[in-house]
């Protein structure tokens, strides 16, 4: 594997070919905030909180650090004014869905996000997909998945699988950036209305 030299926040960093900006930054001890990233899972790029400025051959683009592969002479800025402004906005928007999340609260303090800027519409889920992807990729059980689309997208357990697998596992709960409340609630909901003969278990 050839080495790739790049520059992150003014520091020269060496990374393996195929690594992402996030991995390069982490190995150099430079922190980039993430919500939907987990080292055991495939990069997903859902939360966009890891947005950084990446400059190649004179053009600067905003990219998701968890997805963008490093390249020679790449210049990355993780805390420019523009990046901070974008993260602040993302946090303000996410906070309407999960106002009580400690992880979001801490990040909001760091980036000066106004926690009450938008009207609260607490769904307690930011659709980061950590529980869904962990169940599919690590546990290979596929007990929890997304249903719906756009503003109505939410997680949903498959009662038949959840009744069998979830009681002893629940490993997805601590992954949740909104403090696991939602997954627990949705799981309980799925199991409470489940009887093997029930025909209608799906939401419309």
């Amino acid at each position: 594997m050839s080495k790739i030299l790049l520059n992150i926040d003014g520091r020269d960093v060496e990374a393996k070919e195929g690594a992402t900006i996030l991995q390069a930054a982490q190995s150099a001890g430079i922190g980039i905030p993430t919500l939907c990233h987990h080292e055991k899972l495939e990069p997903y790029g859902a939360c966009r909180l890891c947005t950084v400025e990446a400059e190649t051959r004179g053009t600067t683009r905003l990219v998701a650090a968890c997805l963008y592969p490093v390249e020679q002479k790449l210049v990355v800025r993780t805390r420019s004014e523009k990046v901070d402004r974008i993260r602040k906005m993302i946090l303000e928007l996410l906070l309407c869905h999960a106002p009580n999340s400690r992880e979001l609260q801490a990040l909001a303090d760091e980036y000066g996000a106004d926690k009450g800027r938008f009207e609260k519409e607490a769904s307690f889920c930011v659709n980061c997909g950590l529980c869904v992807r962990y169940c599919a990729e690590v546990k290979k059980k596929n007990a929890v998945g997304f249903v719906g689309r756009g503003a109505r997208r939410e997680i949903s357990f498959v009662p038949e699988i959840a009744a069998r697998e979830c009681k002893t596992c629940k490993e997805c709960f601590p992954l949740c950036p909104t403090e696991a409340l939602q997954a627990a609630y949705v799981l309980a909901d799925a199991l409470s209305c489940f009887s093997p003969s029930s025909a209608l278990g799906l939401k419309g």
Binding site: C135, A136, G145, V158, A199, G204
Partner: protein
Amino acid sequence: MDSERIDQIIDKYQGEASSLIQILLEIQSENRWLPKEALMRVSEKLQVPMTRVQHIATFYKAFSTVPKGRHEVHVCVGTACHVRGARRVLDKVQEVTGIQPGETDSDLRFSLETVNCLGCCALGPVVEIDGKAHGKMSPSETAHVLNGYE
């Protein structure tokens, strides 16, 4: 819909996981909705996780995971139909069928949806029932047309 017919449809596509959407579309068009048993059967036969089948079945508007009526009524509320009085036509449809957009009545006679343009604005206000467009509708004519469907 019996599971034999579902198996037939799946076999028609050689049980290819990549034909998932085609299979769901075919079940949807024959059965008018996707019962959970059908989704589980498809998931099992195609070796696609139930979570993904659910995700797809709830993602596309062409699929329904709740029963649909025998007749699908689409009332156009696009700009052209709107200025020609689509609102009153829609009110009439709601009055006759007793359901709101997105709902199905308990006799499974009608399902009602609003759409934003059917592409024949000169005929506005347009009501489409089971794919047949009824143009230049007045509220009273709407009631008359709806009563012709059993």
